[in-house]
Symmetry: C2
Subunit: 195 residues, 2 copies
């Protein structure tokens, strides 16, 4: 049996630490929910920030709540080219030796020393789904999409979490390359064919 | 033996017909060469145009010479999203029922009825290379890239031409998804695994 998987495209976004949130918006500030995301507990906030590197600015970048331990900005390579930086491919939270930027809020701006990454393509699943699929946290698999722009994505990281439901997350470049603009479907290929 | 292939990334660009070239730049105008391209006889021109749809404009889009039979604008899906249109995946020259736009030159602008496409991912090769690889014009194959962002591109069209040398052409979304910004390498997979 083929294992189908939902694919969701993540546009560029920002996760903020409590400290950075308060530095930008003021002490005790709480993000306003715009809409819930499929990932349990996460939400797109009404607030957006500008990301500045030198003279270049990406405006209106959505904040994703709730707050995290560390501030992290997830960009596509297209975004990184616009900012004239290289955004290294990293799993979430792995931000050592990544570029920093100035984050521009409505009234205040702050400088972050690091945190700009290209999110490593990944799937989320809960322990029950992982067991059924024979997956372990951190494992690399492949996922194939269909249609005229069909692609097999290799080196897809498996991330197992209690709050997760089976879903693949790609950035906008990866989605566009596969002609998937918002949501799509793929087929899990367990053997990762990457070199 | 594995068949390696060079990969070149094509940014958005415009091919102009003689008629449209003269409508924008004046009678008898000739494009100025900026640099030669790998495709024999083709060159990036010094001239760029704006592409306007409604209120949205993509500025500084490079013209590729020499002139062609029909005007054609090759965009990535990222570009198409910025213009709020759908650019259908088409092989070069297949522009019936595709969106049009206003092309803005330095002094004059013209309206094209159609011609905006997303170039179907393809490889070029000459007849000798095609014979060696067992390829025929129009055949669909797969090409795999390496590294952390490894991808296998399916439905890659084979285009055989006397003036061609073996090379794969991807747009910026496809290149970015595979972490290839300008040039890279891939491996030809003869069986096209796409559904």
């Amino acid at each position: 049996m083929k294992n189908k998987i939902l694919i969701e495209i993540s546009a560029r976004h920002i996760h903020l630490s409590q400290k950075d949130l308060e530095s930008i918006f003021g002490k005790g500030y709480e993000l306003k929910k715009l809409k819930h995301l499929s990932l349990t507990g996460e939400f797109a906030a009404k607030e957006t920030l500008g990301i500045q590197i030198g003279k270049r600015i990406l405006s209106g970048v959505r904040i994703i709540g709730p707050i995290r331990k560390e501030t992290q900005v997830e960009l596509s390579h297209t975004d990184a080219v616009l900012l004239r930086i290289h955004a290294p491919v990293r799993k979430s939270g792995d931000i050592i030796n990544t570029p920093g930027a100035v984050l521009i809020g409505p009234k205040k701006k702050i400088k972050i020393r690091h945190g700009l990454i290209n999110a490593w393509r990944h799937i989320h699943c809960n322990p029950k789904e992982a067991q059924k699929l024979g997956f372990k946290n951190g494992m690399l698999i492949s996922v194939k999409t269909n249609g005229i722009c069909s692609i097999t994505f290799h080196n897809v990281r498996v991330e197992v979490g209690e709050s997760y439901n089976l879903c693949m997350h790609l950035d906008t470049d990866e989605g566009n390359a596969a002609c998937i603009l918002k949501n799509g479907k793929g087929t899990i290929v367990k053997n990762n064919f990457s070199d």
